[in-house]
Every structure is written in C-alpha cells, then in structure tokens.
Symmetry: C2
Subunit: 236 residues, 2 copies
C-alpha cells in the first residue's frame, strides 16, 4: 500500500503541486500582488471555486509559497556551505552570504515575498518559522565551528546590552559567547540589508560592480562577528 490512501489522495497531492507551480510561475513573472487565484485556476483549466478545495484562501496559497521560498533559499545556502566544507570559517561565511545574494537575484519576487514588506494585513504564521531559520542556523554553525576550532575574536559589547546579549545567547547558541551571538544577529540583519538594497534597486545608479562590492561587505560582516584568522590574539 505505497499509494497513500488511494487514487484520490494521490490526485490531491498532484493538483496541489500543480497549483503551487503555476502560482510560483505567476509570482516570478508578476509579483505577489498580481498573483491571482482566478488566473491560476484558468491556466490550470479549472474553475476558480475548485481551487478553494486546495487552499482555503489566497493568503494560504501565499503562505505555502513563502515556506517553499524559505526552503529554497535555505537549501541553496546549505548547498553552498557544503561545497565550501573544506575551507576556513571566513570563506564559508562568505560562501553562504553569496549564495543568499545569488538566490535573491535569481528569485527577486520570492525574495520580496519573504524579506520585503510583509503582505499587508498578514503576519507570518508559525509554520514558516523552521524554514525561515535555516540561513540563520547556518551562520551560527559557522561561528560555532570557528569558536571550537581556531578560535574567535570576541567583539566588544557595551554594558547596557549585556543582559540582552545573554538572553539571545541562551536562546540561540548557549555554547557561544554572548558578544558573538549579538554580533551574529546584527550581521544577519545587515546581510539582508545588503541583499535587499541590491535586489530592490537601491544600488541602481550607485554601485556597478555589485558582486565585488558584496563580497567585500560580506567579508567585513565576517570580521565583525570575529570570524577572522586570529592574528592578534584568539578568543579571550
């Protein structure tokens, strides 16, 4: 009984996938706001009301696409990380950052869906959280490897931020120094600031050689986290 629960369930899976595929096509072509349930149904040769058997609302379809986008981005980042497995922490950091950038440039509308303005009147459901965390976990993992290996330059931290830093460290990576975790969170946000500005055209008549610019900026981020070859003294 490999055919899970008969032909009907199998058909449901196929139709659901077909709907998502067509929706993704329209998303890539026109953007989230122009994604139309009726158009998807039309393209699939079905009537719009039938589509509601698979997704109870337009927002639910969008949520499914969001999760898929997070997964696609996370997969690309993880693949890039795996490919750089032999290299040092700084190189692996940069490789992950560049994978994020390249995915975003290849899928601008999907990137906008997950890291642009949230779709209005819509807050990301809890279901998206695991998929959304993958890139962050990857970056934490790189820092952890460095910490356990060559060592990590420990960033500075003002006193007023220490309680918050310890809270974040307890949540995210209890084995890492709070200073490092704080710097990681900031670098994570800053990475997507760089990517977003490029994808959304803010660099348009400003930065020409964007790949080189990004590579350098990503390296600076790694340095801010402490992911440099410790020349002047390792972790305190």
């Amino acid at each position: 009984m490999t055919t899970a629960h008969g032909a009907r369930a199998r058909a449901r899976i196929e139709v659901t996938a077909a709907i998502k595929d067509e929706a993704r096509r329209q998303l890539a072509a026109e953007g989230a706001a122009r994604l139309s349930l009726r158009a998807v149904a039309r393209e699939l040769g079905m009537v719009s009301s039938a589509l509601y058997r698979y997704f109870p609302s337009r927002d639910d379809l969008l949520t499914a696409l969001i999760i898929d986008a997070y997964d696609s981005l996370g997969g690309s980042a993880e693949a890039a990380h795996a490919e750089a497995a032999g290299a040092g922490p700084a190189q692996r950091w940069t490789a992950v950052c560049e994978a994020v950038r390249e995915w975003a440039l290849a899928h601008p509308h999907e990137y906008a869906l997950i890291y642009g303005s949230p779709v209005p009147g819509y807050t990301a459901p809890q279901a998206t959280v695991p998929a959304a965390s993958r890139v962050g976990l990857l970056l934490i993992g790189i820092a952890r490897d460095a910490y356990r290996g060559l060592g990590l330059a420990r960033p500075t931290l003002p006193g007023e931020l220490r309680p918050e830093a310890e809270r974040m460290a307890a949540d995210l990576a209890p084995d890492l120094p709070p200073e490092t975790v704080t710097a990681l969170v900031a670098a994570w946000a800053q990475l997507f600031g760089l990517v977003g500005f490029e994808v959304f055209g803010q660099f348009n008549r400003l930065v020409e050689d964007r790949a080189a610019f990004f590579r350098h900026a990503a390296g600076q981020l790694a340095q801010g986290v402490g992911l440099v070859y410790p020349q002047r003294g390792p972790a305190a």
Copy 2:
C-alpha cells in the same frame, strides 16, 4: 495676485492635499495593497471617477505618497542631526540612525512603501530620487565633517574593489577617500537591514531590548566607516 491663479487652482491644491491625507490615513491603517482609490473617494464624499482628475492612476497616488514618505523620513533624520549638532561625528551618526529607526517604527507601512518590496510592476520614478537621497547625504556629510576635523580611520579595501570604490567616490563624495565612501554605502544598506528586520518582525521572538541592540549596532556601523575617536592613529 497672491492667490495663485484664482479660486479654482486653490481648490485644486486643497483637494489634492485632502486626497493625499486620506490616502495616507488608509495607508497607515491597512497598508499599501489595501489602499483603494474608491475608498478614498468615498471617505471624501466624492465619486471615484472625480479622483482621476487629481491623480491619473493609483500608482501616481502611491508615487506621491512615496515622495512624501521619503521627505518625512529625511526631515526627521535631519532634525535629529541638527539637534545633535554640537556632538562628535559618532554621536551624530548614531542620532541619525536612531531617527531613521524611530521614524520607521512610527510609520511602518510608509517605511514598507519606500524600503520594502517595491510595489509590483512598478519602478520608482526619477522624481523620487532627490527625496530618497536625503538620509544618505546626511550620512556622507557626517563622514565629511569627521574627515575634515578630527580625522577618519581609513577602512581597508581589497584591490579588486578599488576601481569600483573610486567610481562611487567620484559620484558621491569626490573629497572623501574611496575606502570611506565604500564603507559608507555598505553601512547605509546595513542600517536599513537592521531597521527593516525590526519593523517587519524578523526580530520578534529573538531580540527583546531592541533599542539597545540597535544603538550598539549603529555604533558598530559608525566604527566600520571610520567614525571613531581616533585612538590608534588618524587618517593615513
């Protein structure tokens, strides 16, 4: 003849302003995608077709709101900068960053309009450029003051980025070192990464004391630009 071109022209100005005000209200309440021309007209007691005499399309209304939002943000940032006039470059930098953050938190939907995903099928018209540049120019100005005054720590720059850095410097601030201009552009994007992540809820169950976190991150950005009290040696 102070009344520019009679009562009709004056009425036009007033009605245009009333439309923008009501549209801004709806934008703040519901977000850009739910901004409806018909609802604006309804609220103003006019019929929807009449509104097209003032804005030829919904996108044109949005463009007007975008420019206003850039101006409002730029004004807030400039005001904060003026208030910190006596302080050193690092403090003024942080003050501007915090003003940007506070404006964004107070006007999330307007922030999303200008720094979130661009409205689909819509590329920002040239008219928005001057208004959009104000924050960036402010940051460049702070760096320039520091450069002419106490001096500026000069960031490092890889060789592959030098041509691009010189191009950007020629465009943006020919009087500043290319390394500084490059760091400025990166910091600019990273600043909006931090702000965007907070406004769009990416920090939600992650960072609690966001004000302190942001203050620290902004200070780190200033340091990356070279805007620190030169302790170890001023500009080379």
